[in-house]
């Protein structure tokens, strides 16, 4: 079960939940009223128990017919009524002055949330939604004009509304603290199944503290990620581009492009993405507005993302005590240039370093325990030097 699904997370969920439950029980009654008599009659009048003379052609029974017309009719309009009232709850937006209005943009294949500017005029943008508990939140949703229809679906809140290019659709919630899933419910292509995000409902005080800051995420969610990474993720770039390895998601991998391309190239690619398409890919990337400083942050993130983990591992294992990265030999040979060595050699050199010593160095390196994943990261780091 999805997180928070059963907690009546929002006012809408309570109303729609009630409508669904009432519908379930009445439907079971109606189902039994059809299938029960059917099974009973099929058993009662089974062929080997009925003599031909006992068959009767009953073709009308006014009272019965009136009964089985009116009672289901009444039930149907009970359903209609509760369907209507729960819709009214879900679709009547609370007054704007008592609500937080958050703009949502759905694009292939990510969700972006833009918050009202804080006192300093700073506007937060996030991929996951952060909102205060027990407060009305109105979502004003749209999609880029050249994009397709999406649908913003929060199962735990029982709410969903299509996100249509060129239109603004709205929905609202008022929820308890917790984390809830967002899914795209209107088919939108290749990564439709991965157009996921989360709603984080946090205490009002935490929310206020965050919104008045310039932090990219509320304190409890801070990952220590660089600003560039935050931007990369909150703009949904990671939906289509990998940076930490060379796998192709939708668009080309950005690993290592900082080597050959300038920040200016990246800027062009973000602002006018379809001008110059990499071979074998189609023009589908939506344009994104970003300041020059932000682009510089993203650029430095892309430049370092692939190797950041490896660098951290090397750092924490104290390798830099004996090895350099600039080519000058120290107690051991420099890491620079080791990228040409094959992965098996590097693994051996870490786990059993003194088996095969580089010429001119002494066997002084201690063996280090590292998982295969860590070794892979280190290898990647070395290759990028």
């Amino acid at each position: 079960m999805l997180e928070g699904f059963n907690t009546s997370g929002s006012i809408i969920a309570e109303h729609i939940g009630f409508a669904l439950e009432m519908n379930l029980w009445l439907s079971i009654v109606l189902f039994l009223s059809v299938v029960g008599p059917m099974l009973y009659l099929a058993w009662k009048y089974r062929a080997d128990k009925v003599k031909d003379e006992d068959i009767e052609n009953v073709t009308h029974h006014l009272l019965l017919e009136i009964t089985w017309t009116t009672i289901p009719t009444i039930m149907m309009f009970t359903f209609f009524y509760y369907g209507y009232t729960s819709m009214v709850t879900a679709r009547t937006m609370p007054p704007a002055n008592e609500s937080i209005i958050i703009a949502v943009e759905g694009k292939k294949w990510s969700w972006n949330h833009t918050y009202p500017a804080n006192a300093n005029g700073f506007v937060h943008k996030t991929a996951e939604l952060y909102a205060p508990a027990n407060k009305n939140v109105i979502l004003e949703m749209t999609a880029p004009l050249n994009d397709v229809i999406h649908s913003y679906f929060v199962p735990a809140f029982r709410m969903k509304e299509d996100v249509v290019p060129g239109r603004i659709t709205k929905q609202w919630f008022n929820a308890n603290e917790g984390t809830y899933d967002i899914e795209c419910a209107e088919y939108c292509g290749t990564s439709h199944a991965y157009m996921l995000s989360k709603i984080n409902i946090i205490p009002q005080a935490d929310y206020d503290a965050w919104i008045s800051s310039q932090d990219s995420k509320p304190a409890a969610f801070a990952t220590g990620a660089s600003k560039g990474q935050e931007l990369f993720e909150s703009n949904g770039c990671n939906g289509c581009h990998s940076v930490t390895d060379d796998s192709i998601l939708i668009g080309p991998s950005l690993m290592g492009i900082a080597k050959g391309k300038t920040a200016q190239y990246l800027k062009d690619a973000i602002i006018n993405p379809n001008k110059d398409i990499a071979d074998g890919f189609s023009a589908m990337m939506p344009a994104t507005k970003m300041s020059d400083e932000d682009i510089a942050e993203v650029y430095s993130y892309i430049a370092t993302a692939a190797v950041a983990k490896g660098a951290a591992i090397i750092e924490s294992n104290g390798c830099m005590g004996c090895h350099t990265t600039d080519g000058t030999p120290s107690a051991g040979p420099s890491f620079k240039g080791m990228g040409t060595l094959d992965a098996g050699y590097i693994k051996d050199a870490i786990l059993a370093p003194n088996k095969d010593i580089a010429e001119g160095f002494s066997p002084i390196m201690p063996a280090t325990t590292m998982s295969d994943d860590e070794i892979a990261e280190v290898t990647k780091y070395l290759k990028a030097l």
Partner: protein, 561 residues
């Protein structure tokens, strides 16, 4: 032994008098032969679509990507939908049994426009071929064939269908051609039913299957042109970029949804009404008594067809339509539920004080009462606007649709296949095998789709090729159900084919039925059906102590009771 319509040379042809059996089939205008050819083609596409679905179920057996990537999966469900909807279900029962049985039931020699019927069949085949060409990109210079089927889903929603690089245009054109074939079939049947009923047979002496076909034909005639032109506008849009549905040029993508569902919602009644007709044939025959509430059933078909035009908006409850419109569409939708419910009670009342023969057609019919009740009632859930906000575009809708269409339309089509198999082939099928096949199908459908109601309620969206791990168990039960139901389908068709080849010969009226199609001088019937057209001054389901009341001398078609 007189000759039957299946014997060589026993056919009228559209052009000339061909000598070879092959050309006699290709050019035949005989309604029975055309019906059989429709069935043959349709079941081939049906099984292609079934195995496409199986591939998707295998892919979904575990989270993550197994052997399909996202794009291929999207093409797979589009292929499944397009084949099932446009090539199989929509034309299905009218084209197969409407052709084979309906003229026999009203005592006609053929449909009103036999040559048009022949043309329509080949138009249908042409549409199928166009649909098949859209599977691939043919790169002649490179000698390559690339799989490039549309990936839009069978609904072709704009603007997705306008932006995607796959073969949407040919798929749209195929759907348009198939739509034309559907219109012409409906037109032919309407005129046939109005003009060619045997003397004395008024509308209320017609068998209820004919009523179902009649109501269906009106939908085919009046709703199909709307989707036809919508598809053409989408093609114009794609070629010339006039922007009718394209928001980047100022158009309104939701307009496409409206136009699409103006047809496609009545289309689901177009699928179910003839199926209800089959149910109305089987219930009295296997209860050996007159049907309960003949007029109510007949008129409820007509009213479902009528109301069906006014409810398309319930597909758009979360599309950004105004709340007033949602309320109206929801209100109207409940009016469809009422006549449908009444029909069900009428069928069950037909069993009262009858003699229930549990042969396989009846088993299928009773099984359908259960599965369609589930399909129908879950449809009521999503007719409630509030509930639909939560359930729209989830597995709940998927399960509802399959319970209603597979568990309603296709199950009744299978019931009809069993019921009319002796009439069409002159052979009896293997009854124990048929029963096993039924139980496999019945267990299979519930295993396959019932878990989806739960998964959908818990928030599993449709058209996902990968999913959150919370939903794994539901997908796995579904996967097992898929294997069960497919083994049932294979067994059923194996039974049909082997019985046709080497089954026992069928007596003239194996089920003790009362409707005219069983009163032909031979089994299977001769070329021009009844030896003479009977005069009809009796109701369609007249039984007396479990035996058909009306008896004919089959050579003169004079009543001898």
């Amino acid at each position: 032994m007189s000759k039957s319509y299946l014997d060589a040379g026993e056919t009228h042809c559209a052009i000339g008098h061909p000598k070879t059996v092959f050309w006699q089939w290709m050019l035949t205008v005989d309604h029975k032969r055309i019906g059989i050819m429709y069935a043959a083609v349709m079941f081939v596409f049906f099984f292609i679509a079934v195995f496409t679905a199986l591939a998707m179920r295998i892919e979904l057996f575990a989270p993550g990507s197994q052997f399909l990537d996202g794009d291929t999966f999207n093409q797979a469900f589009t292929l499944h939908g397009v084949l099932m909807i446009f090539l199989f279900i929509i034309p299905g029962i009218p084209a197969i049994f409407g052709n084979i049985v309906m003229p026999l039931m009203i005592g006609a020699k053929d449909v009103s426009f036999p040559r048009l019927n022949w043309f329509t069949f080949w138009l249908y085949i042409f549409g199928c071929l166009v649909a098949l060409t859209s599977l691939f990109n043919f790169n002649i210079t490179e000698g390559e064939i690339l799989f490039n089927f549309a990936d839009t889903g069978w609904t072709f929603y704009a603007p997705y269908s306008l932006n995607t690089g796959t073969n949407v245009v040919t798929t749209l054109v195929a759907a348009f051609i198939l739509g034309m074939a559907s219109i012409l079939t409906g037109l032919n049947f309407l005129v046939t039913i109005h003009r060619l009923r045997a003397p004395g047979m008024g509308f209320f002496q017609m068998p209820l299957f004919v009523w179902g076909i009649y109501a269906t034909a009106w939908i085919q005639l009046l709703a199909t042109p709307v989707v036809g032109i919508t598809l053409i506008l989408a093609v114009m849009e794609k070629y010339f970029g006039i922007g009718i549905f394209d928001p980047s040029k100022g158009g309104d993508p939701v307009l496409f949804q409206h136009l699409f569902w103006i047809y496609s919602h009545p289309a689901v009644y177009l699928m179910i009404l003839p199926a209800f007709g089959i149910m109305s044939e089987i219930m009295p025959v296997f209860s050996r008594r007159e049907i309960f509430g003949y007029r109510t059933i007949a008129l409820s078909s007509a009213s479902i067809a009528g109301i069906g035009y006014l409810v398309w908006g319930h597909h758009l409850f979360t599309s950004g339509m105004s709340d007033v419109a949602k309320t109206i569409f929801s209100f109207l939708t409940f009016f469809v539920a009422i006549p449908t419910g009444i029909k069900f009670y009428d069928w069950i009342a037909t069993m009262y004080k009858g003699k229930i023969i549990l042969d396989s057609p009846m088993l299928w019919a009773l099984g359908t009462i259960i599965t369609f009740a589930i399909g129908g009632l879950t449809g009521v859930t999503i007719a409630m606007v509030g509930s639909d906000i939560h359930l729209q575009d989830t597995y709940y809708s998927v399960a509802h649709f399959h319970y209603a269409i597979l568990g309603g339309v296709v199950f009744l089509l299978f019931a009809g296949l069993h019921y009319w198999f002796p009439l069409v082939t002159g052979k009896l099928y293997n009854e124990p095998k048929a029963k096993v096949a039924f139980y496999l199908n019945f267990v299979g459908i519930n295993l396959l789709w019932f878990p989806m109601f739960i998964a959908g309620y818990l928030g599993m969206p449709r058209r996902y090729f990968d999913y959150l791990p919370e939903f794994e168990i539901y997908h796995q039960i579904s996967g097992i159900g898929a294997v069960v139901i497919i083994s049932g389908l294979l067994l059923m068709f194996q039974n049909f084919l082997s019985s046709w080849k080497s089954g026992e010969a069928s007596p003239l009226n194996p089920w003790n039925a009362t409707t005219l199609e069983w009163y032909t001088p031979s089994s299977p019937p001769p070329l021009e059906n009844h030896t003479k057209v009977p005069y009809v001054d009796f109701g369609p389901y007249e039984y007396h102590y479990g035996q058909p009341k009306v008896k004919f001398d089959l050579q003169t078609m004079k009543r001898i009771d």
